[in-house]
């Protein structure tokens, strides 16, 4: 058959589309292959009733009726209705990839709490009290030589006498002009009819305020396409809308935050093509107008870049998502190089750009902490890129170096566990086992008995060895510890299939979805379940539509491609 390929779910370009799998095997060029599904037409009217008890009852949400669901919708959708108290402390997320916090956590907690609640309340960033050191640290970036020359000129010219060359300007504009419709809603209308689809409460861009708070509201409630539309409105208002590409424009931290939001959401929705085009004018954000020094009249002697670090990283990674990981790799290595230069300045007691001396030891510690954290994040992206390229040696090398820097047994262990899986991908079972043992060793310092992660890694090693029964046993032990863990249930189902127990595999996945619809209605899990449905029987449509109904009930507009996910044709 054709080249091997995984579906577009993870953008592996060398793979044939998922939906074609069964068809492909049956419709090869030679006519000796026939797709045989034949049902007795006399029993067709019974199709809908084939699995009545199983399906309908199992898909009813255990608590909370449809009405109460409708009531809450306009404000916070279920899919991401996370109560504030459940939200993690913002620092914890990046701490998992950066160094441990070294300063007293008290101060941190307070500021983070403030930020968090402000973010939750939709307060814009400029309302926060300005901490100059923090601002410098966060915005720091080194201009390249060319930009440096222009920036010096801008700074030394008397007020109003600096006219930059066109080459010095970043001139973005919208490419994706049409308004994106709610994709789930569209599919629901097509397959379930207006009446069923209508029960879905839809928040549209018009129902939220047309500002950053509204944008966050759309993100929080999972109306991602509406969020993309709103960024288009806001960017157009800021003079960077459709048709503005290649024209001079005024950049502010706000416009760049809008671009960040837009790009991040487009990436999640896998709108790669327009995203690449819209990101193109920004290049590597190296143009002088991306720096505060370019605008001495507005920002005084503030220095650093207007570009949020997350945007820089996202755009560097972008080619990797569009099938060009080599290009992403070059860009990421360039990012890492600049960060390492800034870190070396910081370590010698200077500011990131090396122009001034750091005021306090505290500032130095905080700055080094921030930038080593960002360096680690870039390293992770480089590893991801290497994995996409199947350059497992490089990925392994970087992960091992990160492991040497890891400061806690927890981090060391997490990296050993990742290394174990990396080598499984490469088929190097011996190395995978060695890292699994390292991970166990580190785990001993944290808790005496294996936990979910360890059991799962053990199960994955067994799968690599082709021992599905043993793998299954390990996954079941993991499930004993966390009965609601969706990933564990999914892996159990996969094992069951390889053990020849298709029906049980399907039952496990359906149960996982029913017990936690919000997490269980996961794209990849749905792909697995629909793959099993298609293997089981020719009459899968009703089951897939049931899943679609559940998606409508529990999910907003977060899934890039609903049809592909449910293998609906």
């Amino acid at each position: 058959m054709d080249k091997p390929s995984l579906s577009q779910y993870f953008g592996d370009s060398e793979v044939p589309p998922a939906s074609q799998f069964f068809d492909e095997i049956g419709t090869s060029p030679s006519d000796m292959i026939q797709s045989v599904y034949l049902g007795d037409s006399g029993v067709n009217q019974g199709t809908g009733d084939l699995f009545p008890h199983n399906m309908t009852t199992s898909f009813v949400q255990p608590n909370g009726s449809q009405e109460s669901f409708l009531n809450v919708l306009p404000t916070v959708s279920v899919s991401t209705a996370v109560p504030t108290k459940n939200l993690p402390d913002p620092s914890t997320f990046f701490d998992t990839i950066g160094p441990e916090p070294q300063i007293s956590t008290n101060k941190n907690n307070i500021t983070n709490q403030v930020t968090l609640s402000e973010a939750m309340d939709g307060l814009s960033i400029k309302n926060q009290p300005v901490d100059k050191e923090e601002q410098r640290r966060r915005d720091a970036w080194l201009p390249n030589e060319e930009a440096q020359k222009t920036l010096l000129k801008a700074q030394s010219s008397p007020n109003g006498s600096f006219f930059p060359e066109r080459e010095a300007l970043t001139m973005p504009g919208l490419v994706l002009e049409e308004e994106l419709a709610d994709a789930l809603q569209e599919v629901a209308v097509k397959y379930l009819g207006v009446s069923s689809a209508g029960s879905r409460g839809v928040v549209r861009a018009e129902h939220v305020s047309r500002d950053e708070a509204g944008l966050r509201e759309l993100l929080r409630t999972g109306y991602l396409r509406a969020a993309v539309n709103l960024t288009a409105v806001l960017l157009s208002a800021a003079g960077q809308g459709a048709g503005r590409m290649h024209r001079a424009t005024k950049h502010t931290p706000r416009t760049l935050q809008l671009w960040l939001t837009r790009f991040a959401v487009m990436l999640r929705l896998k709108l790669h093509e327009p995203l690449l085009k819209e990101a193109e004018p920004f290049g590597d954000f190296g143009k002088p107008d991306m720096f505060y020094q370019f605008y001495p009249d507005t920002y005084g002697n503030r220095s650093g870049s207007l570009v949020p670090f997350s945007l820089r990283l996202l755009v560097a990674e972008l080619p990797g998502h569009a099938g060009k990981p080599e290009e992403a790799m070059d860009r990421l290595l360039a990012l890492r190089h600049v960060i390492q230069q800034m870190l070396s300045n910081l370590r010698s007691g200077k500011t990131e750009d090396g122009t001034e001396t750091l005021a306090s030891e505290q500032d130095k510690i905080e700055s080094i902490r921030l930038w080593t954290g960002r360096e680690t994040r870039v390293q992770h992206s480089i590893v991801n890129c290497a994995i996409a390229l199947k350059e497992y040696r490089l990925a392994g090398k970087i992960l091992s170096s990160l492991q040497h820097q890891a400061s806690s047994p927890g981090q060391k262990r997490a990296i050993s566990s990742a290394l174990c899986r990396l080598w499984l991908l490469a088929g190097h079972i011996k190395a995978a086992l060695a890292h699994l043992n390292d991970a166990m060793e580190s785990r001993h310092h944290l808790c005496p008995t294996p936990d979910v992660r360890e059991y799962v890694d053990m199960g994955l090693v067994e799968i690599a060895n082709g021992k599905y029964q043993e793998a299954y046993n390990n996954f079941v032990k993991a499930a004993d510890q966390e009965p609601t863990n969706i990933m564990v249930a999914n892996n159990i189902a996969v094992c069951l299939l390889y053990m020849g127990r298709l029906k049980e595999a399907i039952a496990v996945l359906q149960k996982a979805i029913n017990s936690d619809p919000e997490r269980g209605l996961n794209e990849s899990l749905l792909v697995n379940l629909c793959t099993l449905y298609e293997l089981e029987s020719s009459k899968t449509n009703e089951k897939k539509l049931n899943l679609l109904r559940m998606l409508c009930k529990y999910k907003s507009d977060t899934i890039p491609n609903v049809l592909e996910c449910l293998k609906l044709s």
Partner: protein, 405 residues
């Protein structure tokens, strides 16, 4: 057999589905993160954290734990195992009697039955029930393979009905093994083997071993002390990359004693290679018996032994010369030693020495002494053997060198 048997459009009571079970994939979510002070705050970070596919505390690394079922047929290579899920489903709202599956694999040369006994014995399928089987087959042929699945069941008219489905796939070559032989003076044979990955993805060579033939014992030269591979921890080959292995094969004593047997010992042995690819997908290949080119020894085989590597100028040194009769007749030899004009090594001792008759396959040792008169690397030359019966002269120049310091 290449066409489906039932030409008329019969609608069957059961449906047959087939899925190739390659290893599942380990997948990761779309990793999109922001600083908490960015416009989206932690909202996108929380998406990532809450994603069932992400690994807790390692959300930003794409080395996931979540298994995804194969979504395409993929490639298949010689030496891998073809695994397949075969499933028959009752598509009606009544039980179907006497359902059975039979699966065969047709290659260019043979037809191999794959189904287990269990699924071949007819059974009743209740409403919505399935009859399934997981079949495995280690692929031993290249080229086109056709999986033929036949389902038989009892129709409503109490007659047996059946239909067949065909699935075609190509088996490709995974590795290219190139070999080179060196026959050493000492009768050892050195074998250099380049194993090249010609699949489309990276593979890990789990085991590469040379099983020697009856005539030789093998020593692998690919490890440093304590069994550590010279390739380090990682024998990962990207597509088109090769790994080079070196082996030393020593003829067994009974062979090395007999120059005839030695010349006839052409079979060296065969390679046994085990590799793994995506998530441990395993393949195993054995090469056919490797053949070396044996050296032609002529009538007489002369080798030097106990020759020092390094000697001091102006100090005579001793070594031995082994002369073996490789011909079919008795030789009557005498040895000439001539110090050539430009030679830096001068022979000491008697020239034109008679060595006496030498039977076929027998050998004698002669002690020799030479005096180096110049420093540098010099070859031993000027030795000739004359067969008195046939008046034939054999010259031996440049057979060995010594370093004079």
């Amino acid at each position: 057999m290449n066409k489906m048997d039932t030409k008329e459009a019969v609608e069957h009571l059961v449906a047959l589905k087939v899925m190739r079970l390659t290893k599942p994939a380990l997948i990761s979510p779309k990793i999109v993160t922001c600083d908490s002070k960015d416009l989206p705050g932690n909202i996108l970070n929380n998406y990532l954290k809450d994603d069932a596919v992400s690994v807790t505390q390692m959300e930003t690394l794409a080395a996931g734990q979540f298994l995804l079922l194969p979504q395409s047929f993929g490639n298949i290579y010689l030496g891998e195992t073809f695994s397949c899920y075969v499933c028959v489903h009752n598509e009606t709202n009544q039980p179907v009697q006497s359902v059975s599956i039979k699966a065969d694999l047709q290659t260019n040369s043979q037809r191999i039955p794959l189904t287990t006994q269990q699924s071949q014995s007819p059974m009743m399928l209740d409403v919505d029930e399935t009859l399934s089987d997981v079949i495995h087959h280690e692929v031993k042929d290249l080229g086109t393979h056709i999986l033929v699945c036949e389902v038989t069941y009892m129709s409503y008219y109490s007659t047996l009905a059946s239909f067949r489905k065909f699935f075609k796939f190509e088996v490709m070559k995974p590795l290219d093994v190139k070999t080179k032989f060196y026959n050493a003076e000492s009768d050892d044979v050195y074998l250099e083997a380049q194993v090249q990955n010609i699949t489309t993805g990276p593979i890990t060579l789990e085991q590469v071993s040379l099983e020697s033939s009856q005539q030789f014992t093998v020593k692998s030269l690919n490890e440093i002390e304590e069994g550590q591979s010279v390739f380090g921890d990682i024998t990962l080959l990207q597509p088109q990359e090769s790994c080079q292995y070196l082996y030393c094969l020593t003829p067994k004593e009974n062979i090395s004693k007999d120059i005839k047997l030695l010349a006839a010992a052409k079979n060296i042995g065969k390679f046994d290679i085990v590799w793994r690819s995506n998530l441990g997908e395993k393949g195993r290949l054995q090469t056919s018996q490797l053949q070396r080119m044996t050296t032609e020894y002529g009538d007489v085989r002369l080798t030097y032994e106990m020759l020092p590597n390094k000697v001091t100028v102006d100090e005579p040194f001793d070594f031995k010369c082994k002369i073996m009769n490789a011909s079919e007749r008795t030789l009557n030899l005498f040895m000439k030693l001539r110090s050539l004009q430009d030679s830096s090594l001068l022979w000491c001792g008697i020239s034109n020495r008679k060595l006496g008759p030498l039977e076929p396959g027998k050998f004698i040792y002669v002690n020799l002494t030479a005096l180096p008169i110049n420093t540098g690397l010099h070859s031993i030359s000027g030795l000739s053997l004359v067969d008195l019966f046939l008046k034939r002269t054999y010259d031996y120049d440049y057979l060995a060198s010594v370093y004079v310091s």
